[in-house]
Amino acid sequence: MNFLLVLEWLIKGFVWALVLLGGFAYLTLYERKALARMQSRIGPNRAGPWGILQPIADAVKLIFKEELTPAKADKLIFTLAPVITVVPAVIITAVVPWGPSLDIFGYHLNLYIADINVGVLYIMSIASIAVYGIVLAGWSSNNKYAMMGGLRSTAQMISYEIALGLSFVSAILLAGSMRMLDIVSAQAGYWFHIIPKWFVVLQPVGTAIFLIATLAEVNRAPFDMPEAEQELTAGYHTEYSGMKFALLFMAEYTKMIAISAIGATLFFGGFNGPFVDQLPWLGPVYIFVKIILLLFGMIWVRATFPRIRYDRLMAFGWKVLLPLSLALVFITALGIILAQLNPRFVIFIPLASLLVAGVAVAMIDRTLRRKDYARR
């Protein structure tokens, strides 16, 4: 084992973890500012110029808060649950490449932490671990609201993980590999010199399913059932305070960043962009911009749509997203076979997907318009 290689890994891992944690802090500010502007407010602007020191003020407040542990809580698991929630959120993006290789001072630097040949599988497995933290937090609190929140969260995350995984499958099929670098390089180039070869163009419906499923996966509005304030006070983190609460909060926002990075890599071309071949340092810039835009999408959706009812959430996951994403996998596979006959037939994938999505929308619309459904 080369010592320099180990050092490089350590530094890259450390830097990426710091980027995620600092990003989490500033994501809270970003969200508060964007939400405020959408609600005709200004948002935090007192701590520092334009409120840029607000995350630090929040952190200091949370650190100095009293940490309470409920008397009848399972102390070990209660303490461990925030950690179990945070760790997957931080390590999940280890396989996401933020740029091509870079030569700095004659040293060849790869701008990714780990290059696993089953990168997508790694993401799926780590995303599943995050569920444990939440359900354990809910259970160990010995509080019925927390318990309900944890259970809801688990059910929701398991249900939407299937649709999420199947939307990953279409990206894997299109790239022909599970390696993140292969997926990114499969999205390089342009059609007709203008349309980027991103998978969002080839598989728009798959991307839409990915975006919807990730909203449910990271418990964001309009799928923030686990922390439906009106019903469950705060859901699984009702009994948490101080730094333990901050960890759960951090996990939630870090997961947002992680899922945006994964989405940007799988469907929006990763670090691809104009001139990235000539200037490799543009790669991290492009993926950063894409992550910011995807995060804005999440905030935007939160500001717009009301929370949907829990039974409808589950019905949407199982009865709409699962069949639709299965159909998309089938269409993608069929399109790839057709493209082997004639490369132009690749247009079959987006057209057939949009057709299937149209059928799904029409069927949802018909169901929601039935009178007996509204009464239920």
Binding site: A34, A36, R37, M38, Q39, S40, R41, I42, W300, V301, A303, T304, F305, G358, V359, V361, A362, I364, D365, R366
Partner: protein
Amino acid sequence: MRVVEPVVELARGLWTTLRMMFDKPVTIQYPEQKKPVKARFRGRHVLKRYENGLEKCIGCALCAAACPADAIFVESSENTDEQRYSPGDRYASTYEINMLRCIFCGFCEDACPTEAIVLGDQYELSFTDRRQSIYPKEMLIEPVPADGKPTPQKTKVGEFTRSVPAMKDPQD
């Protein structure tokens, strides 16, 4: 069979929130910017003076009697021509309002026969100590007008015998 409309409806919702981003925020940066209060705003009480500097309050305690929250405490003393605070026989030697009790109903204003107590436009009434909630007369009384003298004044005998000023127009 509606395919496009449901999606368009969702997009319209998103468009509404995005458009609002470019609206002017309604926020007022409070300690730096202040909105003027409305004409009939009921803020902190002010004890008024006549133009010559004499206090309007005659210590009758009708305000204290009218107060539903029992927030006002009045103690009156005798005026003399040597030491005159207000027209008539008596003046309020102690006038205290407990701002924790006051509900800003304005009944004291209505009860006052000399229009001495008025709910002004001051609304920044925060304090850090419970004892500071009691506003004494020195805090409530308005400053002496430019052409008046501070109380107590030395006045001519028989000049200020009426506590309540005579009405100019009895129809009023």
